[in-house]
């Protein structure tokens, strides 16, 4: 067991990427994720890797495309407005079936917004990270340890399914320090020789990495194939955590820092005799639909706690087929719901049905 160290989320994540075999990082500074680039700038030259501060976010994502096309583990990181700039390149990665890890340490929006923590890029990450028919694997850490574990996992899933993955974090997770173990186990190596543009040595045909398919039937075929892979991911890779759900009559759904605040509120509500628990999605795509739908047969209401005007709530309603009411507890613009905000909403949910 490796020693526990105290690290900032952003730095722990960067170290985890290196441990996952990432030797190509391309970025552009933006608060609240700049420590990732700073860490990479320090570490990469020492281990023979590449740290490159690009001239823009758009340049950085396209450099990721290049490194990924050559079969290398590559990563970029940014925060909300910077991710919007990368969206074209993310779509190209998806369209070319290239694995890569994209980090979004979210801040308040829209526009240039603010620099405080936010979860208002949920739609962007899970529905429309760029143009065209595609998905990203979206991982949502709720602790510094998960910043590490999910970075490692993100690289693995991206390689396994040949697609880009995103770590959807927020300013709190990036800036906070917690004890963390950098004990990642072995990196699984994937054979990329059948598709990567990594040099033929005049011994084989060229591999071509491309997202342009002028013939519509050909493009459709690739989209169908890609969605078959997505179906496997939805069947096999859903991750979530349950907290005090055994006898729960109210189910909070929250991820990231919102889940941490909710945990306090749940403990307090339980002291007051309210049976409330939480299902915390760890993968936002694939979304934990089945477990939520099953919970809908047991609980009387759901509460979506999020740092947005209500985005994940739509996926909850879809997942449970609107069988039960879903309340929204939210702050936005860089504000974070307090324990008491969540507690009030739990009490409101508890009064549903008028049987109290």
């Amino acid at each position: 067991m490796a020693e526990k160290v105290l690290m900032k989320g952003n730095e722990a994540l960067a170290e985890a990427a290196i441990m996952a075999g990432c030797r190509h990082y391309f970025g552009y500074p933006i608060t609240p994720q700049t420590e990732i680039a700073a860490y990479m700038a320090k570490r990469m030259p020492l281990i023979g890797g590449t740290f490159l501060q690009a001239e823009s976010e758009i340049a950085a994502i396209n450099m990721v495309y290049g490194a990924a096309a050559a079969g290398k583990r590559a990563m970029t990181s940014s925060s909300s407005p910077g991710i919007a700039l990368k969206s074209e390149g993310i779509s190209y990665l998806a369209g070319s079936d290239l694995p890569a890890l994209i980090i979004n340490v979210q801040r308040g929006g829209p526009g240039l917004g603010g620099i405080q923590p936010s979860q208002s890029d949920y739609f962007q990450a899970t529905k429309s990270a760029g143009h065209g028919d595609f998905h990203l694997i979206v991982l949502a850490p709720a602790s510094v340890q998960e910043m590490v574990d999910l970075t490692f996992k993100g690289f693995d899933l991206a390689d396994k399914y040949r697609m880009p993955a995103m770590l959807l974090s927020d300013g709190t997770m990036g800036q906070m320090m917690e004890p963390v173990t950098l004990d990642m186990g072995k990196v699984t190596e994937y054979d990329k020789s059948s598709w990567a543009a990594c040099g033929t040595k005049c011994e084989r045909e060229h591999n071509v990495v491309n997202s342009l398919f002028i013939q519509p039937d050909e493009l459709e075929k690739y989209n169908f194939e890609r969605f078959e892979r997505y179906a496997q991911i939805e069947a096999n890779e859903v991750m979530y955590d349950e907290y005090r759900m055994d006898d729960a009559e109210i189910c909070i759904v929250a991820y990231g820092v919102a889940a941490r605040v909710s945990q306090n509120a749940i403990d307090k509500a339980r002291e007051n005799g309210i049976k409330v628990g939480m299902i915390r999605p760890i993968t936002l795509w694939p979304f934990p639909k089945a477990v939520l739908n099953a919970a809908a047969d047991k609980v009387k209401a759901f509460i979506s706690v999020e740092l947005s005007m209500g985005q994940m709530i739509e996926d909850i309603e879809l997942a449970i087929r609107c069988k039960k009411p879903v309340l929204l507890c939210n702050r936005t613009g860089g504000m974070i719901p307090t324990t008491n905000d969540v507690l009030s909403k739990i009490e409101e949910a508890n009064n549903i049905g008028g049987d109290k």
Partner: protein, 177 residues
């Protein structure tokens, strides 16, 4: 046992560092720890604060909204957070920078002229650690005998010449009457 600690003052007073010191003690003692800085635009010359939670059980929110220990190193911080502290909280005030008393009567207030003591003792810039020393004595967040060990971990390798001064500052605060 859980301590919800809020440290607040001006940018440059070492608020984040003193929070880190407490967090490292938690790490050494294998407790649950979280450390969360304010990182807003207010850091540049304005107020700066830092949430530290030390607990023997799993920590939920890393944000300390209602501290049971508040260290206030300037007036805006005391004004802002005094009313947020829980009933029975211990509030530590740098009385060389804050000329008012704690108004609430349901908390325990402690006053120490940390900034003045620091400059009198040639420990300029270490008022933060004097506050920590005094707080450890009055609130018992961490055992005093851990101070040297924790300091060796938290003072960066490049600044080990500052180690003895930091320890001296904690000691000074701890022995303040």
């Amino acid at each position: 046992m859980t301590h919800q600690i809020l440290l607040a003052g001006f940018g440059g007073q070492g608020i984040l560092f003193s929070g880190k010191f407490l967090a490292y003690d938690g790490l050494i003692e294998d407790r649950q720890v979280s450390w969360l800085p304010s990182y807003g635009p207010e850091m540049r010359g304005g107020t700066c604060n830092c949430s530290v939670i030390l607990s023997d059980t799993q920590i939920g929110s890393p944000i300390v909204s209602n501290p049971d220990i508040l260290i206030a190193m300037n007036l805006p911080s005391l004004d802002k957070f005094e009313n947020e502290a829980v009933a029975g909280a211990k509030i530590f005030v740098d009385s060389s920078l804050i000329d008012r008393k704690v108004a609430r009567e349901d908390v325990e207030a402690y006053y120490i002229p940390a900034t003045k003591m620091a400059s009198d003792e040639g420990l300029s810039g270490l008022a933060n650690m004097i506050m920590i020393g005094y707080m450890i004595r009055k609130a018992g967040v961490m055992p005093y005998e851990n101070v040297e060990k924790v300091m060796a971990k938290v003072v960066p390798a490049k600044k080990q010449d500052k180690l003895a001064l930091n320890i001296k500052a904690v000691e000074l605060g701890y022995n303040f009457e």
